[in-house]
Symmetry: C2
Subunit: 122 residues, 2 copies
DNA sequence: CTTGTCCCTGACATGGGTGTCAGGTCTTAC
DNA sequence: GTAAGACCTGACACCCATGTCAGGGACAAG
C-alpha cells in the first residue's frame, strides 16, 4: 500500500511515517519512481512504534528494542533481553507513579463529591 | 529555606524551581535583596508538581489543576472538578496503554527465557 | 570588611516528534 | 497524453521543560 493509506489505517501522519523510516524503525520498498510501498504488516508495526513512543521510549531506544520484540524467540540475545528488561522496569515505575497520581485525583474528586452531596441532599 | 536547599530536598534543579515560579506554580517570599525564601511546605508542592509533569500535564494545566488539589474541599468548584476529571481520564488511558505495553514486553521476555531454559536445562 | 558561596536576571541552546511549506515528480484514471 | 491527486525531498518552525552561561548582587562566617 502507499504511504497515505498506511497513514490513515494506522492513525499516524505521513510526516511521522517518513520520520520513522529515517530513524530506521520502518522500512519500505520503493517503486521505480521512488515512491514508498508497504506490506500489510506495516500497520501493526507502526501501531507498535506508537505504543513505544507513548511509553516514553526515544526513537533510538525503539530501534534497539523493536527488532527484539518482533524477532523470533531464537533470535533474542541475552543482551537484547536485558535492554528489554530495562525498559520494562522503566515502564513499570511509570505505571506506579501514574497510579499514585490517579489515586490523588480520585481522592480529591470523591471528597469534593461528598461535600456537594452534603449540601444538596437527595 | 533558600532555593538551593529546596532544590536539593525536592530533587529538582534550581533552574526548574525558578521556572515553576514563572509559570505561577510555586510562590516564594523575597528577602530585602531579592532572594527567594520558601516554607517547608514548598517541598511537597514541588514534588506534586513533578508528579503532574510526569503524568503528562503541561505547566498551564498544572496551574489550573493544582490549586484545586491543594484547596480545601469547599473551594473546589464544579468547573475545576471537571478539569480534574479530564486529567484523571487521560491518566487512566495512559495507564491502560502502559499496562498493555508492559504485558507485551513481559511476554517477549518470558518466552525468550523459556527458550534459554530449554537450551540450558537445569 | 573581606571572601567564598549562594543567588539574581536574561538569554540562548537542546532534544525529539511533529506540523507545514515550497518546488518538483510519479501514478492513475480518463 | 493530460489532468488531478498523491508522493518526493529538504528545510524551517514549534512546543516546552530543562541546561547552561554571563555578568552582577546578596549574604554570612571569619
Amino acid at each position: 500500500m502507499r504511504i497515505g493509506e498506511l497513514a490513515e489505517r494506522s492513525g499516524v501522519s505521513v510526516r511521522s511515517l517518513r520520520y520513522y523510516e529515517q530513524q530506521g524503525l520502518l522500512s519500505s520498498t520503493r517503486t521505480e519512481g521512488g515512491q514508498r510501498r508497504y506490506e500489510e504488516g506495516a500497520i501493526d508495526r507502526v501501531i507498535r512504534i506508537q505504543e513505544l513512543f507513548a511509553a516514553g521510549l526515544s526513537s533510538k531506544r525503539i530501534a534497539v528494542v523493536l527488532p527484539c520484540i518482533e524477532a523470533r524467540a531464537e533470535n533474542r540475545t541475552p543482551a537484547l533481553l536485558d535492554e528489554l528488561a530495562v525498559e520494562r522496569q522503566r515502564i513499570n515505575a511509570q505505571i506506579t507513579d501514574l497510579l499514585r497520581t490517579r489515586d490523588t485525583l480520585d481522592e480529591v474528586i470523591s471528597t469534593a463529591a461528598d461535600v456537594l452531596t452534603a449540601s444538596q441532599p437527595a
